[in-house]
Symmetry: C2
Subunit: 756 residues, 2 copies
């Protein structure tokens, strides 16, 4: 159904430039399918799509520009000659970079051949493939031995799979240009053994639910679709038939290889994606996995429409594109949840793929055209054409990022991620599951942004991806000793020990639980979640609100972390701010000798720059960053210690950034509630040298009630007005009715929280 609609649609588009989604082509279904499986291209580009593209060329600016850019790039490559060197290097080295470059070049040259009908591109692809064929048929395992699954062209099967995902597209594009003999030669000596190496010969890589395996499955499946090899297609969709791995084996990152025996492309969609489209490893890895997920899906959609891949799991693949876009800040950069390199954004080519495919095969959301316009390029295929026409026809709207709660877990019942947005302020709250081997031990942590700049940062990963000089571009040991540890995050650490003792086996069994979220009133957005397993015997309940109150210049964050424990603990509560310390209302003492805060679990990486004790009920700390002012107000007692820390201790190779934090320490305490606000306020200009609104607007923060059922906080403005926020710690359903008395005053309301 969808397939034929699409074919007809493309024709109509080509002729009239009006889309016509309701056209029906049931009778053509079987026929077109038979045609499809014999015609080439059929995988990503289709013969119909190519005709439509050719008809529109010169008339679709964003497509035309992308085409010109790609043509210039490939013409330069062709001019500089083919290089297929004997594999030798790790990532960053010459042979690695060259083979990586080749996969992109092959895919693009194939597309150019189809669109421009210039045989030089087909010949170039053929010549290079023949050189690969010549080399591959006698190629041993890659000489570098570090990977748990060595490839042949590359040091790891993962990169071999990358290669095949792209090169299968190139092969599809020049399939009809080749003689049958040439095709046989390539399939027999290159593609089939290549697919076998990354699957049956590397089950520890292939037979899993993991982003690596997704690439493997897609690679095998895509070449299978082009070659019309049903065995490979089945292997791609369902894994290697009859093979079960040992369930307790682990991979290099410390994750289980295959805990529950699931494998294949469908399982790789089923498992890691929640029904809301959140990918359990987080946005950085979702971005990486998106490409094979979506291009193989398009291939399946085109060649095996009966799989109904875009309907699979209630259409989660396309939903996940919206989820991923919502997981980016105002600059389009993904929130660095779990292992995530900062700066990765929806300008990445995988997101061009995701946005175009989601637009074309989804419901033509005009907001996606807004993102595509920012990306300033499209795919050179059917979906890129649809986007280009949409933009040309002025259907573009800006993509409206909303406050969102994204459930985690394949059934959506393993916690989640909340994103609260209001007037430039963005808060990301994490109460998800472990996030597989790339997960961090940071239950109920958050990070806070203003206009795309970090106010309170999540550290991200300790890795310089593809920068050879830093551990070959791979994960650095500080990723384990620092970045994954709880103290590296904006949440509470008990007794200098990470959540779940920092153990994957334990963390992977648990997830936090939503108490409630409420985004209806855009001026009071709240999310609340609890975590009872990170520290056995201790219950953590965190409620975070973004409040835009008329008495404040900008929205502020209210943060209530309620802890109930069977025993007395030391609670460490850090704020990873950026910038320059302006003012505190407590005395601190700097030392001219800096020592680490602790010896393990991340504490060994923090230098103590200064320490002191809280001297007021409200501890205040103001700082300046990016020409804005910020103030933390937090409830304290005189026994509370305060540390200014800086990352960088026990870092023998300067692998960590020297970033600061303020850390609040409460010792020897059973039950306690941390209550804080963070205000963004005012601005400074280095040009006019004027400082506007550089002081906090909060004169007093007070707990007026704190029971198992409710926590009530009053927030007094410097102008004298006072607001009361009460959160339901239990029974927080939207329709629940509450009634309570505080200081002889009655409060009645229905819903999760009270604010007035």
């Amino acid at each position: 159904m969808k397939l034929t609609q699409n074919i007809i649609l493309t024709f109509i588009l080509a002729l009239t430039m009006f889309s016509c989604k309701k056209e029906n082509g049931v009778n053509a279904d079987k026929e077109s399918k038979t045609i499809m499986s014999q015609e080439h291209p059929k995988l990503i580009l289709t013969t119909q799509g190519v005709s439509a593209i050719r008809a529109q060329l010169g008339n679709i600016p964003i497509f035309d520009n992308t085409l010109k850019m790609v043509k210039d790039e490939i013409d330069a490559e062709i001019a500089s000659g083919i290089e297929v060197p004997m594999p030798k290097d790790y990532s960053g080295g010459y042979t690695h970079s060259r083979h990586k470059r080749n996969w992109f070049v092959l895919q693009k040259a194939g597309v150019l051949y189809q669109i421009l009908e210039d045989e030089k591109y087909a010949k170039y692809v053929k010549d290079m493939l023949m050189q690969y064929e010549e080399m591959y048929k006698t190629l041993p395992l890659h000489p570098k031995t570090r990977s748990y699954a060595r490839g042949k062209l590359f040091w790891q099967c993962l990169n071999d799979s990358n290669w095949l995902v792209y090169v299968s597209q190139a092969y599809d594009c020049i399939y009809n240009y080749l003689t049958e003999e040439e095709r046989n030669k390539l399939e027999t000596n290159l593609f089939k053994p290549f697919a076998d190496h990354i699957s049956v010969d590397s089950p520890q890589f292939y037979q899993r639910v993991h982003n690596h395996s997704t690439w493997g499955n897609a690679a095998v499946g895509m070449i299978g679709l082009v070659m019309d090899d049903e065995e490979l297609i089945q292997r791609a969709l369902y894994g290697i038939k009859g093979l079960t791995l040992e369930r307790t084996a682990k991979d290099d990152d410390g994750g289980f290889l295959n805990k529950d025996g699931k494998a294949g492309f469908l399982a790789n969609i089923e498992e890691p994606f929640s029904p809301d489209g959140y990918y359990n490893e987080g946005p950085y890895y979702q971005r990486y996995a998106m490409y094979p997920f979506l291009v193989f899906a398009v291939g399946l959609h085109n060649v095996k429409p009966e799989v109904k891949i875009f309907d699979f799991k209630e259409g989660v693949l396309l939903k996940s594109v919206h989820a991923l876009l919502n997981l980016s800040d105002a600059d389009g950069e993904f929130f660095p949840l779990n292992d995530g390199q900062k700066g990765m954004s929806y300008y990445n080519s995988a997101l061009v793929t995701a946005v175009d495919i989601s637009y074309h095969y989804g419901n033509q959301d005009p907001g996606l055209l807004g993102i595509a316009k920012e990306q300033d390029q499209v795919l050179l295929d059917d979906s890129g054409l649809a986007v280009a026409i949409g933009i040309k026809n002025e259907k573009t709207k800006s993509f409206n990022k909303k406050s969102t709660n994204l459930s985690d877990g394949s059934d959506g019942n393993q916690g989640g991620i909340g994103i609260l947005r209001r007037k430039g302020l963005e808060l990301v709250f994490k109460y998800a599951s472990q996030g597989s081997s790339h997960g961090h031990y940071d239950k109920l942590s958050y990070s806070l942004y203003e206009n795309g700049e970090e106010i309170i940062q999540d550290y991200g990963l300790a890795r310089f991806v593809n920068i050879e000089q830093k551990g070959g571009g791979n994960y650095l040991k500080e990723n384990k000793t620092w970045a994954k540890q709880t103290i590296a995050h904006n949440t509470v650490t008990l007794n200098e020990t990470s959540h779940f003792q920092g153990k994957y086996e334990i963390g992977n069994q648990h997830h936090s639980e939503l108490n409630y979220f409420s985004f209806e009133n855009k001026n009071v957005q709240v999310i609340s979640a609890k975590e009872n397993n990170a520290y056995p015997g201790t219950q953590m309940l965190r409620t975070i609100a973004i409040i835009k109150d008329e008495d404040f210049e900008k929205p502020y964050m209210l943060d209530i972390m309620k802890l109930i424990s069977k025993k007395a603990n030391q609670y460490d509560f850090p704020y990873y701010f950026f910038g320059q310390v302006l003012q505190t209302n407590f005395e601190y003492h700097t030392s001219d000798i800096l020592k680490p805060l602790g010896r393990k679990n991340g504490y060994q990486h923090l230098f103590i720059e200064a320490k002191g004790y809280a001297s007021k009920d409200n501890t205040k700390f103001s700082w300046m960053n990016n020409k804005s002012f910020y103030t933390l107000t937090t409830l304290t007692s005189k026994k509370d210690q305060l540390f200014f820390t800086r990352i960088g201790a026990n870092d023998p190779e300067f692998n960590l950034r020297r970033d600061p934090s303020l850390l609040l320490r409460r010792k020897n305490t059973k039950n306690t509630t941390f209550v804080s606000t963070i205000e963004a306020h005012g601005s400074y200009s280095t040009v006019t040298e004027s400082a506007l609104n550089s002081n906090s607007s909060i004169s007093e923060l007070k707990v007026v009630l704190d029971t198992a059922e409710y926590t009530g906080i009053s927030i007094k403005n410097v102008n004298g007005t006072t607001k009361l926020f009460i959160t339901a710690n239990k029974n927080a359903l939207k329709e629940a009715r509450h009634s309570l008395k505080i200081n002889d005053e009655n409060y009645e309301w229905s819903g999760s929280y009270y604010f007035k």
Copy 2:
């Protein structure tokens, strides 16, 4: 002459929009002068200028937009009512901010009255001035006592002078709107005593060569011009008649109050500006002084053309605008030489004044229109009109910043500043005089920029201007203990002691001397200067080149610091880089306890993060910042120590930034030559995650010759090519002929250096 040309010009502009510089109006000279001194406005706006502006309104976009912006601003002010509070606060406090705001508002409202002919603006100015009159006639000294020269409206005379510089313009604009009685009242009770307070009553402020005095002189002079008070005008131009201050007295910053008895506006032009237009305190303070220099000059030009102020000292005032613009980086931000707050740029309103006046009263440089366009606003006066018409008539060119050598000293013979520019790389080399009380002890220091971003930084000042929370926005004590010290700069420190022992009295007697500069060949730009007084008995000769060699991706810096000393010293040679350490070719050891590098002269503020010894003849260090790669290659012996340091020790209030450096230490050495290159190379993208050209292109740096006459360095590229650079340490005249033998090879050339 100039005046009448200008009047005629303005008329012609208004009528035809063609300029006609050659028009002559000698006969009208006397008559117009007489008219001018009776007509109002005459100071900055002129009656002729106002007519021309009115005629063009609606037809001059940048002027119209500025006018609208100013009108909106002042209408809002008028709506919110007049506030003239009793003076009470320091900078940043309410009364300070309000009176400061008032001076701008008055000046703008006056201009609006003239241009729009709407009496509400005149009335507003009058009403506010009358409130000032009412208050001022009984106003005591400002209650805050910190200043060496207390004002009445403000805590320091400086700000009172700021007020009068602006308000005299407002008074001029509504002069004819007032009755004679009203004028008498204002002049008798407000303006005259105000001018007296900041001059005859505050000679320690007024009777100097200093940027403070410039404001004082201009304030007195401008109100004198409006009031036609010849006594005030003479006092402004030449200082307080018959008054000589004690020559050894010092001001708050440690500078002499008045060492040589000079005073008055003309002396304030004569002394601090070099013939090239360099202002001896550096660009940050030049920017601050520009406004009174130029607006009083315009006033003089209009009312007292016989002074020929724009011809004074061969036209240095207008020249200085070009010098100042050249002292900014690619983003328009001024190089933070001496005390300078980073981020101050030519977007500051003082530079709008400077650019417009320089365009109109200078030679209509179309490059200035380029800056004006970036500033996106003009002055609402005759010069702003000229700029607006120039832009409208498409005369705009982009301002071409060039490699420049700017001499320092009133006669241009006290060293200077060299700025070398090539393909995005900018190097600022300082071999100037002390720079008055705002000078730093940093002879032969440099900073290096790429596309407006700092590669090797100058720290700037230790102050948060107008940020009340940081020491009231004033200079912090770390400005003396750190920012001014030699070790805070990219130059050599001997024996852990600053140049001139960090003493102003000594530093102020000396200046460095140019050896040569050569910018003819844009691919090999060189500057060379010597300093023999910073450390008695030690000669420092530094030669820095920016070389664009075909075998390198980008230009690189070659730096040769030759030291000849009578005794053995410890030489410390820091590189204040920014960003992440990538790789070194020497071993270093980090410590888990950080200690300061020393105890005084700035050393107490540096933590040692790591230390090691050079292990090769060429020590290499690569880092990454702003997605670019950088490599330092420096000649070392195995006795050379290397420290990674970080600023921040002994900083009890977090007044300093935590910035890193690599410091090379050579102990117990008499004569030595530090030879280094810094390459900018390649790039990293967090979106594609690809690292391009991340390695240095230099395989070996070698001294092939080092005598009193010549230093020769060979630079070998990783591709095998070798270049030789020889600099003449003496006899470096352009026309000098050189002949020498190195390793049996003869080299002959004429000029300052050899490169092949």
